[in-house]
Each structure stands twice: as structure tokens, then as C-alpha cells.
């Protein structure tokens, strides 16, 4: 598709909006009500462009067409944009916040804002969200994001015309049913809805780099600090794939960092109650209990559950503790606890559970398949995929399963297939069958690259009922030259087999296929990578036989729904549980005998491994957080008579190990195997 924008001709692969086309080629069209997570609303009327022969239109809602000539900024367009901005600013207080709206006012040389400030429009009843509707410009972004993404109806519009106002449910945000997701803060272009933290502590005095560990992407983020307190998380980059500007990253840290349950000193259980204990004594008790367990049951008496996203240095220390000091292989992590069976499928078929490419390389795909709720579990990746589709870089096929994902990815998709969870396998079976039948598969290549192509082709069969959907999918995938298959794997999934087969089938001499499995529930592949891990069955067995005397849990938040019940019932049979965790959670409160305060990622130094095997460094931290898990583990190891070096020395060893691993992986030369 050839489109002329401001006199220059560009080629586009896909029918995308003029706005996205222009932004893709670096022309910034002003918008207030457009947000790529939301479907266009076309209400601010700022993204105006002129189409030759058609006149002025909103670029957010008008798709490009072959031969179209677009002018993004001429006198008439500029005049209308300026007038609309002027009208919006007539009631707006003095621009000060440098929000998008303030920036636009400056860009168009408008300084009028000077509307009176009405106290009644200010609502500070919510602990995290500060509302000043004097600044509201009626873009409805908050209303729409609350309805469409958060799935709530907290923000509402009342009255009509010039009298229309946005109000919180019941008139006060603090008393509303708001779940504090703060999506509304994120989409507000004028600062009417703002982080209360920023209002309370002021804008940050300084920023430092860190690595968000709220999901396995491990994005780099910039932490804003005011009075030695973190108040704001900013994305590190502009582009979504290295951004970390998602809602999860921006806000979930507060739940840990500022939790009322935050631990500041170790606690020991005495007579059923947790009592404060000195750190040195606590380390002494911990090492004593580990020693006791080994004395009683040998190396099988001690075990380790690794949870939370730890730094590579910490994993290394835990490896030393378990494998070298104790000589035990009793390591569980929430990935292996949840996914043991699926792990087997991956290993048997393609020999890896890691993405076949770094996330950034998804950007060069021309076709992307998304299965499951990537937007909820790995929002930064979801955002990146959405942008790739909206800007026409890739065609997007979304297979939606739960109602909550509808309207998320779906809005940005080229093909959307809604299917019940149990039927995903069937759908992909159909797709696979069709891919073969329609000749989209490079059989010659696959014969060499797989172990059992002939056998697979003999048994492949698809159900009739999904043929319509499969047809749409195959049409898109077949044409692709670089196809990425991205899917959220659920612990109770029964359809990974078929998805893996699709991936294998799409490989060929003329086409590159990539697979990116994401593990929504127990997102800890890095722990697995370094430490390995055993299954929940194994843990239950050991606990039941009362073999396991002392258990150390590092991280917290391991009670994932999929394993919650079994884990709780198993751990009742363990004598002594040590937990290292930032906040007092259910486990530490009711199960642990000894609890050490852990650090959140904001306070940690070290290196993280993202699930696409990218290493990210968190160099600095807050003042007063010098004593870290690393030092704690070092203390325990020393008490057990083992000495390790400094964090830097440890890192050098870890780095070398990872290097070797990567080389080994690349040289494995394993053939793929279809599963059926």
C-alpha cells in the first residue's frame, strides 16, 4: 500500500490508521484521547489531517488506503487543532505539570489556561490517586480504561454538553469500588488524575536504574526518589519492548514496598507467636536448624523453595547452600512446582522452554500469534505486540480465551478467534492440518529437522467444528515469513502439544518461526535455569514421609492458585520452615518458624535474568539498604563453615557459567519432535 504523507511516499504492509502510519514514519500528530490500549474514541478532535479529495478527518479512526495523499499539518488543519486546544484550555488552570496536554499547549503557543480552581473538584479521598477535575479535559480516557481494561465502572460521566463532568462512583474515589490499578492515572493526559504519591512527596529529586521483577520480562526501569523514598517508576526507554512502562511495573511494587506488613527485623515463632529476634541470633538459629536436619536425615533433610524473582547472585548462593554445602538436590521453585508436566513436553519436542528468540526480535516478525492473556501477565510485552500490529509492522492473530482478554489485544488484531480454553488444542490441530493440506509447510526441510514427520502426518486430524477459524488463521500464517508464536501457558493447560507442533510446522527454509512461551502463573524460569527444580508431587511425597525437616523458602508469594492446596497440606508436615520475604505473607504468618526480612527489587543490587535470557543489571539502590539477601545468605553459609567472596566476585563466576550454558545450548543440534 503506497501512501503519501506530507509529500513523501511510504509503503505500508497493512491497513492501519493514518495516525499510526504517520507516527511510524516519525510524524507526530497531536492526540489526547488516543491510547494504543484503547479503541479510538475520536473525541478530542486534535489528530486532524487532510486527505486529498476528502477533506479533514480524524487520523485515529481513518485507515490508510492505497494511493492516499495525506497532509498532516497545513493552515486549515493547524487552525482547527489550535482552536480545539484553545477551547480545551479555556477552563484549564495554568499549565504546570508538563503532561501531554501542557506540552501541546506549549507547542501551539497557547498560554491561556487560567481557569479558576474550584476546591470542590479536588478529591483526595483515595490513598493512591489524587483527583483534580479542574484539569479535566473530558477525553473520557479514564472512563474507558476503567470500563474496558480494568473491567470496572468507577469513572462515570454525568450530564451532557458543556456541563458534562467525570465523577467517581458515588462521588468520592476513596469510597468507590476502585481497585487501585491506576490505569486511569496512566491514561490521563492532563494530570486531572495523578499519583497521590507524587502529590504527597513531590516530584522526584533523583532517579536510579533498577530492574522490575514483577514479571519475567525483567525490564529496566528508572526509579524516582523523593526524600529517600521511591515515589515513581518510569520506563527506561521509549519503545515498548524495552520500556517497562506497563501498569504492573508502575504500581505493583508499592504493594510490597509500602506494605503495612513490611518486615524490618527477623521474627521467630515462640509458643505460636512470632517474636522479634536479633539478626545474628536468627542466623545462628537458621544454621543450627539446617545442621540438625542434615544430622537427622542426611542431605535429604533439608530443602529449598525458591520463589520471587531473585538476582543471579542470590541464586548462586542458594545453589552453593543446597548442592555444595549440604549436597542435596531438594530444590523446588514455583515454575517446576506448577509446570513439571508441561516442562516435559517442551523438553521432549523442542528441547527448551525458553523463547527461541530474545523478545526484541519479535519486532522483526511479520506475523504474530498471541494465545492467552499476555496483557495481564506480561503487560509490557502485550503493549509491544499491540504497537507492532497497530503500526503495521506485523499482522496479529489473537486467540482469546477468557472474557477479560477481549478488547485487550482483540482491538489491535487482524484476526481474532474466540475459543474456549479446552478447545485451543483442537483449534491448533485444525490449523496444523490445514497448514499441511494447503501446502504452507516446507516438508523437505521438516523431514531433516524433525525426528518423526512421517508419523505425525499420518495421524494429524482436525475437527470439523473449528475449520472456519482455522481457515482465517492459516491464511495469515501461511503468508508469513517470520512468524512468532507467543502464548501464556497455564499450569492446567492441555494444549501446549498442538501449539508446539504449530511452531515446528512453521519452520522452513523460506520461513522462520519463533516460539515464545510465557508462564503466567509461576513465572520463574530463571530460577529453573540456574537451580533446576523438582515437581510438586516430589515435594508432597517427601513431606508426607517426614523426610524433610528443615525447609527454606526464599522470596514469598508462592501460593499460586494451581498448587496452593497441595503445597499448604504438604508443608504442614515439615518441622522447621525458614522464610526470607519482604512482607509478612500468609505463609510466614501461619507456617514459618523463622522469618527474615527480604528486600524488594527497588532496594536490591545485582543482576537479573529475563526469561529471554537477557541479563539486566541493577546497579544502585536506596540509602540504608546495604544489608541484602546476599549478605544474609552469606552469613548463613559462613555459620555453616563455608565462605564466599564479595558480590562482585560471585557475579564473575555466575557470568562464566551462563556463558558456557548458552554455548552448550546453541551446539546441541537436537532435532525437533512432534507430539501427538
Amino acid at each position: 500500500m503506497k501512501v503519501k504523507i506530507d509529500g513523501v511516499e511510504y509503503k505500508f504492509e497493512k491497513k492501519i490508521s493514518i495516525l499510526n502510519a504517520a507516527r511510524k514514519v516519525g510524524i507526530d500528530i497531536p492526540t489526547l484521547c488516543y491510547d494504543r490500549r484503547l479503541s479510538p474514541n475520536a473525541s478530542c478532535r486534535l489528530c486532524l489531517v487532510k486527505i486529498k479529495g476528502k477533506g479533514i478527518v480524524t487520523s485515529c479512526t481513518t485507515p490508510i488506503e492505497d494511493g492516499m495523499e495525506v497532509v498532516t499539518d497545513d493552515d486549515e488543519v493547524r487552525k482547527a487543532v489550535r482552536m480545539n486546544l484553545r477551547l480545551l484550555s479555556s477552563r484549564y488552570p495554568k499549565p504546570a505539570l508538563k503532561k501531554r496536554f501542557d506540552q501541546l499547549l506549549e507547542r501551539y503557543g497557547l498560554k491561556e489556561g487560567g481557569g479558576a480552581i474550584n476546591r470542590e473538584e479536588i478529591d483526595d479521598s483515595h490513598p493512591f490517586i489524587y483527583v483534580d477535575m479542574n484539569r479535566c479535559i473530558n477525553c473520557y480516557n479514564c472512563v474507558r480504561v476503567c470500563e474496558d481494561i480494568a473491567g470496572r465502572l468507577v469513572w462515570r460521566i454525568t450530564n451532557r454538553g458543556a456541563e458534562s463532568r467525570i465523577i467517581a462512583e458515588g462521588g468520592s474515589l476513596g469510597r468507590s469500588s476502585c481497585i487501585s490499578c491506576r490505569a486511569c492515572v496512566d491514561v490521563c493526559p492532563s494530570g486531572a488524575i495523578e499519583d497521590a504519591m507524587l502529590v504527597k512527596y513531590g516530584t522526584p529529586e533523583r532517579y536510579y536504574w533498577s530492574v522490575c521483577n514483577m514479571c519475567s520480562l525483567a525490564c529496566r526501569v528508572s526509579v524516582g526518589v523523593s526524600r529517600n523514598k521511591p515515589v515513581l517508576i518510569r520506563p527506561a526507554g521509549e519503545k515498548p519492548l524495552d520500556a517497562g512502562g506497563c501498569l504492573k511495573g508502575r504500581y505493583i511494587w508499592e504493594d510490597a514496598f509500602y506494605s503495612a506488613e513490611r518486615l524490618h527485623y527477623p521474627l521467630i515463632r515462640k509458643g505460636g507467636f512470632l517474636k522479634k529476634v536479633d539478626i545474628k541470633d536468627a542466623i545462628g538459629i537458621a544454621s543450627e536448624k539446617i545442621r540438625e536436619a542434615v544430622k537427622e536425615q542426611g542431605s535429604e533433610g533439608f530443602g529449598l523453595i525458591v520463589s520471587g524473582r531473585l538476582t543471579l547472585e542470590e541464586y548462586y548462593m542458594l545453589n552453593i547452600l543446597s548442592r555444595e554445602v549440604i549436597g542435596s538436590d531438594n530444590v523446588w521453585n514455583s515454575f517446576t512446582l506448577c509446570y513439571q508436566s508441561i516442562l516435559g513436553e517442551f523438553m521432549n519436542s523442542i528441547g527448551s522452554i525458553w523463547p527461541s528468540i530474545p523478545y526484541k526480535e519479535i519486532g522483526i516478525s511479520d506475523s504474530i500469534i498471541v494465545v492467552g492473556d499476555v496483557d495481564s501477565y506480561h503487560p509490557a510485552l502485550g503493549d509491544a505486540i499491540r504497537e507492532l500490529s497497530l503500526q503495521g509492522d506485523a499482522r496479529l492473530l489473537v486467540v482469546g480465551t477468557s472474557p477479560s482478554t477481549e478488547g485487550f489485544m482483540q482491538n489491535a488484531s487482524d484476526v481474532y478467534i474466540k475459543v474456549e480454553k479446552e478447545r485451543i488444542g483442537g483449534l491448533f490441530n485444525c490449523i496444523n492440518k490445514r497448514l499441511v493440506e494447503e501446502g504452507y509447510v516446507d516438508l523437505d526441510y521438516l523431514r531433516g529437522a524433525t525426528e518423526n514427520l512421517g508419523e505425525y502426518l499420518g495421524v494429524i486430524n482436525g475437527e470439523k467444528s473449528c475449520e472456519n477459524n482455522a481457515e482465517k488463521a492459516v491464511e495469515m500464517l501461511g503468508r508469513g515469513r517470520n512468524v512468532s508464536l507467543i502464548f501464556e501457558v497455564e499450569p492446567w493447560y492441555e494444549s501446549t502439544k498442538e501449539l508446539i507442533d504449530t511452531y515446528i510446522l512453521l519452520n522452513g527454509r523460506e520461513r522462520r518461526a519463533n516460539i515464545v512461551p510465557l508462564f503466567e502463573e509461576c513465572d520463574l524460569v530463571d530460577a529453573f535455569y540456574i537451580l533446576g527444580g523438582r515437581s510438586i508431587d516430589d515435594l508432597a511425597q517427601k513431606a508426607k514421609e517426614r523426610e524433610l525437616k528443615t525447609l527454606m523458602i526464599v522470596g514469598g508469594n508462592i501460593l499460586r492458585p494451581a498448587i496452593r492446596e497441595r503445597l499448604l497440606s504438604s508443608l504442614r508436615d515439615v518441622d522447621f520452615i525458614i522464610e526470607i520475604v519482604p512482607t509478612l505473607d500468609y505463609f510466614s504468618r501461619y507456617y514459618a518458624s523463622l522469618v527474615f526480612p527480604g528486600r524488594t527489587y527497588l532496594e536490591k543490587r545485582g543482576h537479573y535474568l529475563s526469561s529471554d535470557m537477557t541479563i539486566r543489571h541493577a546497579p544502585s539502590s536506596l540509602e540504608g539498604t546495604e544489608f541484602q539477601e546476599f549478605d544474609l545468605l552469606k552469613g548463613i553459609l559462613e555459620a555453616l563453615g563455608y565462605s564466599v567472596g564479595s558480590m562482585e566476585e560471585v557475579w564473575n563466576v555466575v557470568k562464566e557459567k551462563i556463558r558456557k550454558n548458552v554455548i552448550a545450548k546453541n551446539n546441541s543440534g537436537k532435532k525437533y519432535k512432534f507430539l501427538f
Binding site: 478532535r45 482547527a80 480545551l88 460521566i157 454525568t158 454538553g161 458543556a162
Partner: protein, 476 residues
Amino acid sequence: MVRINLPKKEVNTFYNAADTMPEEEYCSGLACYVSRNLKKEFWKKAMAQRPRTYCLGKCYSSPSSSSTHEKPIIEVRSRKSVIGRYLLKGELTLKDYISLGGFKALEYALTSLSKRNIIKEVEKSYLRGRGGGGFPTGKKWLLAYNQKETERYLIVNGDEGDPGAYVDRFIMEYSPFLPIEGALIAAHAIGAQKVYFYIRREYPRSVARVREAVKSMASFLKYKLPKIVVVVGKGSYVVGEETALINALMGRRPEPVFKPPYPTERGLYGKPTVVNNVETLSNIPYIISNGGKEYYELGFSKSRGTKLVSLNSLFKRPGIYEFEFGVPLKEIVSTGGGLKRGKVAGLLIGAPLSGVVRPEEFDTRLGYEELEEIGSSLGHGNIIAFNEESPPGEILREIVSFLSYESCGKCTPCRLGTKKLEGILSKGYILRDELEEVYDIAHTLVSSSLCGLGIGAGRVVLSFLSKYRRVIVHEG
């Protein structure tokens, strides 16, 4: 998928009459304004009333109130009568309607025509939307007919809120079976399983009559027909816009949505939906019975068939007249018998979203394009004559104030631009200093509004300024 039934409390604040209205309502509409001197005390009461009532559909006896019950003159002035003949005898019963040939077209359509052929007849007739849009009806049906999705809806738009318009009101009151028959044919042709009949609250008699008609038909027709649901408005002009109407039916704020996608592709509950005006559908039985070709022979140019026009109370003979398209405006004016007070200073056709017509333009013939050419538009065929007692600046003030009051507030230019213009025009004229800003706002409204209301608001201002600039603009 769109969420339906948003919290009622907030949605209701959109409407001006969702809660309570005075027992007796006085109309603030444009037709009542131009004839305010006929019943001064009515106009005074209208001006004092809060919330305001806009248009009770009694523009033939305006200024009006909810408790006046006069009836308009109704006459057929075309070679053949398509709709008018059903209105000549007052309120028809089902029996009366059948004796006039009613429901024959429906029966014929159901038994002897394929769905595609029904649509073909309508295409042949070149019937165009009578609600003001002028979109070819057959084409609209075909768009819905061709959709993959099989769940479909038909909406009958009885939200006739334009000042001076009361044609739909009397179709619904006198002969509710006519639009219903048309709707059932339409629903059958496009494959709609359900029909929503939306009627504005200002027409209580229409609501009662349509409800009665739906009920009385149930036992009469032996075919399996789609269910007809009658929905009553709560007081909003913009609901008449089809996408806003769809939102209203879904229990959301009745704000217009950008197009495309058009409702024929994604409408009510996200399904293909055809929204047709009452008068549009009332043409359908004739077209099916007599063939699209015969209908096409009436009218002229790109405007085919007949059009009911309604004349306001300033005319000596106010009422509904069925004309063929192509009749010169001056003939319509003379049919109205001249004015009760003063001389015709101009006409407002298709108000409020269209320009004004000056007496020297009365040679223009009634037709969609012909009226557009002189900066006006057909609208509902609502014609308001005004005399020299109503200065153009004040008429413009009334129109802009109405549009600002009725603006949904979704898009920037309409929400704030009309408000700003209302402020400037509140004195009934524009100062020279303000002129540039007025032009800027009007142009911005035209070029960047989301729906016809904002665009129309800008056009009206530009039309008045181009035709009456000298009297509207005052020197410092």
C-alpha cells in the same frame, strides 16, 4: 463487545427529562420562537421553564404547550399519494388501515418476493432516508443483508426532534400501522430478528398509538414476525442520530460514535443494524405494492417519490402537505396561504442543522441536492417561515443555544465551541471584534466535529453570516 446497561443514575443525567418534568410543558423550540407574538404568555412560560422542553410537535399551533390539542391541516398535493392518504381521516384503527389496503404489501413481500428482490425494489425506487441523511434506503438494507453475522436488528427512528417537524408524529398517531408494516418488511428483508421502535417522550400520543397498534396486530397477522419493542425517549435531541440511538438502546450514554464502521456492519449489541426513520419506512408498503419503478416516477432529479412537508403556525394554513419532490419552494409557501403576521422574511428548512433560505431563493425546487446547493437542507421536510419580527441574529441565537443545550459533549468543538458561540450570540448580534473568532469556531465545528450536530452548528452560523451578515454584525 460493548458493555450494555451502564449505571442508570449517571446515564440518566444525560437526558433532560429522565426524572421529572413540569406537569404542563411549554415549548422553547424555534417554531415557537418565530411565532412567539401569537401567544406571548406561552413563550414567556417556555422561557422560564427548567429544564427546557424542545419541540412538542405542535409547530402548526405554536407557541405550544403539552396541554393544547389542536390538529394540523393535512392535504395531498402530489399526483399520487404514498403516505398522505393514510393520514386524511385522523386516527385509523386496524380495520380502517386494512380497508385502505394495509398489510397487503407485507403479505406480498413475505409470500411472493425473495429477500433480495424486496431490497431490489427499494433500490429501484431510489427511496432516500427521510430523517435528514438522505442515504439510499435500499443500499443501506443491502449493506446489512450482505453481512456475515446473522443476528441483526432493525430500529425505527421515531425521534423526530427538529423544530418545525411533526410529520412522523402524525404518521405514528394517525396511522401507526404504516411504519410498522414498512418496518416488518424491512426486518424481513434484512433478516432482523427484532425491531426496536424508538419514540421521543414529547409524543405521548404517538407512544400510546404505536403500542396499541403493536398489540392489536399480534392476533391479526398469521405469519411469524419479529418482535417489536417500543422504547420511549427521555429527552435528548442528539438521540436521533443513529449511532447515539443505538447507544441509548443499549443503556449507554446516547453519544454518537464515529463512522465507519456503520451500524449496518456493527450496530446494536455490535450486530448489523439498520436504522430507518418513520417516514422512510412508511414509503415501503407503497413501493412493494406498486413496484419501485412506479415510485421512482414520482419526484425528480436524485430526489424521488413524495415528501411530506410540515408548515409552521405563522402560515395561514399550517399543516402537513404531501408534495412530489421538485415542487418549487414558492409553491409550498403559497400553499401555506401566506403569513398570519407580517411578510415572509425567510424560511428555515431542515432546521436546526441547515442554513436559512431567503425569499429570492424561493425558485429553488424541493430536493436533497437542490437545497444543499443554497446552503440549506431537506431535514425532515420541516419548514419554518419567519417574518421581520424575528431578526436573523436572534434566530441564530435560538438555534445555537438549542444546539449547545443538546450537544452531547463528547467532542471538543461541539461541547465547547457551541457554548462559546452561545455566549457571543446571547445579545442577538455579533460585534465586529468578535467576528473573527465566530468564523474560526464555526469553521472548526464544520471541519472537525464528530457528528452532524456539531457540523450543522458550524454550517448554520456560516449560512446566516453569508446571507445576513450586515444585520447580524454590529459595529462596536
